[in-house]
């Protein structure tokens, strides 16, 4: 029941803040913060309850109710370590997104918060669903409010960006729907029972050829969302044009749903084909790392630069997922979390700069340290995190991924490491171009306000914590990851 209330709180909070905003916008913002914080507290509660209990089951909590009985579709939510870690990230960044739009969004703030909270509700549903129909439903549902966020409050080319984003994800999502339906039909033909339940579909017997085709349906949807190299073109547009909160949610959370889908569905349901395709996907990951990093070096628009670094970082995640061992997989999860935090923070920095300077062009900046030391310092910290400086979160993730990937393919890993070198280039170029050097444009700007300090400070603390002591995260997600691999082994034994 607690899992259902996670979603209901956000949905109700969204409606409430829409209504309240007609009279009082500040109250609406507080309602939004309160509902996300409530969810954060509830998921911490789940974590605490788990730590206290002695149960060794993989699932921490479950909710199950009939929905469309004719097709065995159930309202089945369940949380394990992986989804719990993702949920905590979701609510943490959710609070940040509300804080980031506190002064940026003045027009139609009620509808904005409604959409923001509904995106979060959709993401929560994606991380919780263990019924594939329900999963698809939430997968699509998070698109619509995100579309509105970009299309209404975005920057100059918002209509183009939001439509492109919607069409890309819709087409890939429908391919996944075909795969889901086909999987359920196969299961029906084998057992005579219609079901979309994750754990039952895991047992579906498939010929290798069918399994390969079905896996492609899932994989394309997740690869578009991740995004993997040839499917990434929606990302720079959407990230650049979205308002700050939209960028934070896109980069921090929506991309993670792609990676999550691969770990949760592709690897365990299609163990054989995913091992066959692993070399290809690892290559795609490495191409993404290098391609994203090289393009990031060439960007002049700050948000576009950060967007391309996301392509690069998601390449590491892809590499880690398909490296086929526990270390790399754990590295991928840590990378997902720390990339969410560091990139989210960079987008917030970009938003703060744009709010003050009304430009995102790096060439218009320069010497900002003089007038805004605190903001510039924070910017530098997050840029360093993004290029993988040891001691900060991203380093742990990338290091673990490389360590694991080296076992699978030393050659690809060597190329992937080159990505870190290019990363140093774009990171330093950003810091030097924006913050250091002479203040040639004579900017005089207000530094961080207390609210902004709090938000960025919390993000920094989390990054340092993951960088220095990632063990708690690993401990939480490990059972989920290893049991997804165990199911792989069990299926092999059956063959």
């Amino acid at each position: 029941m607690i899992l259902l209330s996670l979603i209901i709180v956000l949905i109700a909070g969204g409606v409430a803040s829409w209504i309240v905003a007609r009279r009082n916008v500040v109250a609406a913002r507080w309602i939004a913060v309160a509902s996300v914080v409530t969810d954060l507290a509830m998921s911490l509660g789940i974590l605490a309850a788990r730590a206290g209990a002695s149960s060794s089951s993989r699932w921490f909590a479950e909710y199950d109710a009939a929905w469309i009985p004719q097709f065995g579709i159930r309202l089945h939510l369940a949380v394990d370590g992986l989804s719990l870690a993702m949920l905590l990230l979701t609510y943490f960044l959710g609070v940040m997104a509300v804080l980031a739009s506190w002064t940026e969004i003045q027009e139609r703030a009620g509808f904005f918060h409604f959409n923001l909270l509904w995106v979060l509700a959709g993401i929560t549903g994606v991380f919780l669903s263990t019924d594939l129909f329900l999963f698809y439903l939430f997968w699509e549902l998070m698109l619509v409010p995100m579309y509105f966020l970009i299309g209404i409050w975005g920057h100059e080319r918002r209509i183009y960006a939001s439509t492109k984003f919607f069409l890309f994800t819709q087409l890939s999502g429908l391919l996944m729907l075909i795969a889901i339906v086909a999987l359920a039909v196969l299961h029906y033909q084998a057992t005579g029972v219609y079901t979309f339940d994750y754990r039952q579909l895991l047992q579906t017997p498939m010929s290798p050829r069918v399994a390969r085709l079905l896996m492609l349906g899932f994989l394309i949807a997740f690869a578009v969302k991740l995004p993997a190299f040839p499917f990434h073109t929606w990302l720079p547009d959407a990230h650049t044009e979205a308002p700050t909160a939209g960028s934070v949610v896109l980069a921090g959370l929506l991309l993670k749903t792609g990676a999550y889908g691969m770990i949760r569905f592709v690897l365990p349901i299609f163990p054989g084909p995913s091992r066959d395709i692993a070399p290809l996907m690892m290559t795609v990951g490495v191409v993404g790392i290098l391609y994203g990093a090289v393009l990031a070096v060439g960007q002049t628009d700050l948000k576009r630069l950060v967007a391309y670094t996301s392509v690069s970082h998601m390449g590491f995640v892809l590499l880690g997922i398909f490296a086929g061992n526990q270390i790399a997989l754990e590295g991928a999860v840590v990378q997902m979390i720390s990339h969410g935090i560091s990139t989210g923070a960079l987008f917030m920095i970009a938003g703060l700069l744009q709010e003050r300077m009304h430009t995102r062009e790096i060439s218009q900046m320069g010497g900002l340290w003089e007038t805004m030391p605190a903001l510039s310092g924070a910017g530098m910290v997050f840029a360093m995190a993004s290029i993988g400086l040891p001691g900060l979160g991203d380093f742990v993730g990338e290091f673990l991924v490389l360590l694991g990937a080296y076992r699978a393919s030393p050659k690809l890993t060597a190329f992937a490491t080159l990505g870190l070198v290019v990363a140093a280039l774009y990171g330093l170029r950003f810091v030097q171009g924006a913050f250091q050097g002479p203040n040639s444009h004579h900017w005089k700007l207000p530094d961080l306000r207390p609210r902004e300090w709090t938000a960025l400070g919390l993000l920094m603390i989390c990054l340092v914590w993951i960088g220095l002591y990632p063990q708690p995260i690993l401990r939480v997600v490990r059972p989920a990851l290893s049991s997804s691999q165990q199911s792989t082994i069990a299926q092999e034994a059956r063959r």
């Binding site: 004719q70 339906v181 039909v185």
Partner: protein, 482 residues
């Protein structure tokens, strides 16, 4: 004709009787309100009389009509849709200087024709229903006599519908000359016969398909759709999109649907598959560059008929139920869409150009919200009726491994999303750069339309979230087709 058969055919009798009563009432004294009240009461009584009808057993009226649970279900759908058209039409007509009362008369007649189609089992009743529907539609489409586009659309429809009817008639005659039977059930045997079958029979079936395809507006018989949709008054457009197509689809689903599993095969299956693919793709592609919402919805209706054909081709019990569910979801949604457009239209103009929707979200958020819901349902976004309809069609297709059809469906509905989003984009545009053509002419949404829109929005979400009840009803009702 037994008593039970008379009871079973009550809905048809009541609807026709309502038309007669209305005609007499108009002769005594013209009153717009009385006309709509009589018509709605007639529809309500006809709906109630469906409850007296067959439960399980099927009644045959001569060799003309078959009144089983399937026809009862479709008659209920058609009556309901006609009721919504009346609710929208009332205020639309009230704002216009026309003779208003005859509109209801014609709609009642057309609805009767459509219901006859849903229940017919023989060529004669098929043609009778078709003509009853078409002749009433000629007058309805050209109903606003002062508007040139209306007249043009009416004449276009008259010429094309009359010629397609005659082709259909010729096809039916060919089949009759070969088999000596007028039974509609021959279509199944013709369509499932292999290449060795009689050429005359096949030619007859193909010619009949022309007439059927014209009414459904599938490629390549779709040419009239955008012009007629654009030219006809909005309530009539809604009627053409729902009742007229619904009755014909009921007939096709019943008589073309293959009894054996494996989906519709043979020459007929191949032709229908090509028609379905062509409809899905060209409907959605042609809609991309339109700037008139009525034309966009016309092309989208072509694509949606293609999706329905996928369910038909998949066949089996699942295919029939999926097709019916999709049809209901589509009718509810398209009624909502046209209803919103009707409610937004002023006395002299219709809210048809995309420009007239600019900034609507900020000026009239509730109406814009309803319209967005309808568009998202047409696009098949979850939580709306359109999504579950699409899901059922996909499931039915996947169960028969109709992969080419399914991939076309997915691809074309993504293309379709683009033009639905164009309308949404216009609605969320900032009002300051809006060209406000409505001005002082903007009307409040009238009560009847508001109630109807609220009901339809509720239905869209209900069918999208909680389909079990309706699905069970459909499965029960279509069981007789097996």
């Amino acid at each position: 004709m037994t008593n039970a058969a008379i009871v079973a055919s009550l809905p048809l009798l009541i609807t026709s009787a309502t038309a007669v009563i209305l005609m007499l009432a108009i002769a005594v004294r013209r009153s717009h309100f009385a006309a709509v009240a009589i018509s709605l009461a007639g529809l309500a009584v006809a709906l109630l009389s469906l409850l007296l009808g067959p439960t399980g057993a099927s009644h045959e009226v001569g060799s003309f009509l078959i009144l089983d649970s399937y026809s009862v279900l479709y008659m209920a759908i058609l009556l309901g849709a006609a009721g919504f058209v009346f609710l929208f039409a009332y205020d639309y007509l009230a704002r216009r200087q026309e003779h208003r009362e005859e509109f209801y008369l014609l709609v009642l007649l057309a609805t009767t024709g459509s219901m006859v189609l849903a229940a017919s089992r023989n060529f004669a009743s098929f043609f009778l229903g078709l003509e009853l529907l078409s002749v009433a539609l000629y007058a309805l489409i050209a109903y606003l006599r002062h508007e040139r586009v209306c007249i043009e659309a009416g004449i276009k429809y008259l010429v094309l519908a009359a010629s397609s009817s005659s082709i259909l008639l010729f096809g039916l005659a060919l089949i009759y000359s070969e088999t000596g039977s007028m039974d509609l059930s021959q279509f199944v045997t013709i369509s499932s016969s292999g290449p060795g079958g009689s050429v005359v029979l096949l030619a007859g079936a193909m010619l009949a398909l022309v007439g059927i395809g014209f009414k459904l507006a599938v490629v390549p018989f779709h040419m009239w759709t955008p012009d007629v949709y654009e030219g006809a008054p909005l309530p009539v457009t809604a009627f053409v999109a729902t009742v007229s197509k619904g009755g014909m689809f009921a007939l096709v689903l019943r008589w073309f649907h293959p009894a054996a599993s494996g989906g519709l095969g043979g020459a007929m299956g191949a032709v229908l598959a090509v028609i379905a693919i062509a409809s899905m793709l060209s409907g959605n592609l042609l809609a991309l560059r339109q700037t008139n919402v009525k034309r966009i919805l016309a092309y989208s209706s072509i694509a949606h008929m293609g999706y329905l054909l996928v369910a038909l081709l998949a066949g089996g019990a699942l295919g029939v139920a999926a097709g019916t569910y999709y049809l209901i979801a589509y009718l509810v949604t398209i009624l909502g869409a046209f209803g919103t457009m009707t409610a937004l239209s002023g006395a002299r103009w219709e809210a048809a150009s995309i420009e007239s929707y600019r900034g609507l979200f900020w000026e009239r958020p509730v109406v814009a919200g309803v319209f967005t819901t309808m568009l998202l349902s047409l696009a098949g976004i979850p939580l709306t009726a359109g999504f579950l309809g699409k899901f059922y069609v996909l499931t039915a297709g996947a169960a028969q491994s109709r992969w080419i059809l399914l991939f076309t469906l997915v691809l074309s509905s993504t293309i379709g999303l683009y033009y639905y989003l164009r309308i949404v984009v216009a609605m969320i545009a900032q009002p300051q750069d809006a060209v406000i053509i409505s001005g002082a002419d903007t009307v409040r949404v009238p009560l009847a339309a508001a109630v109807a829109l609220a009901a339809l929005t509720g239905l869209v979400f209900l069918l999208g979230v909680y389909p079990s009840v309706l699905w069970n009803i459909i499965v029960d009702a279509t069981r007789s087709l097996g």
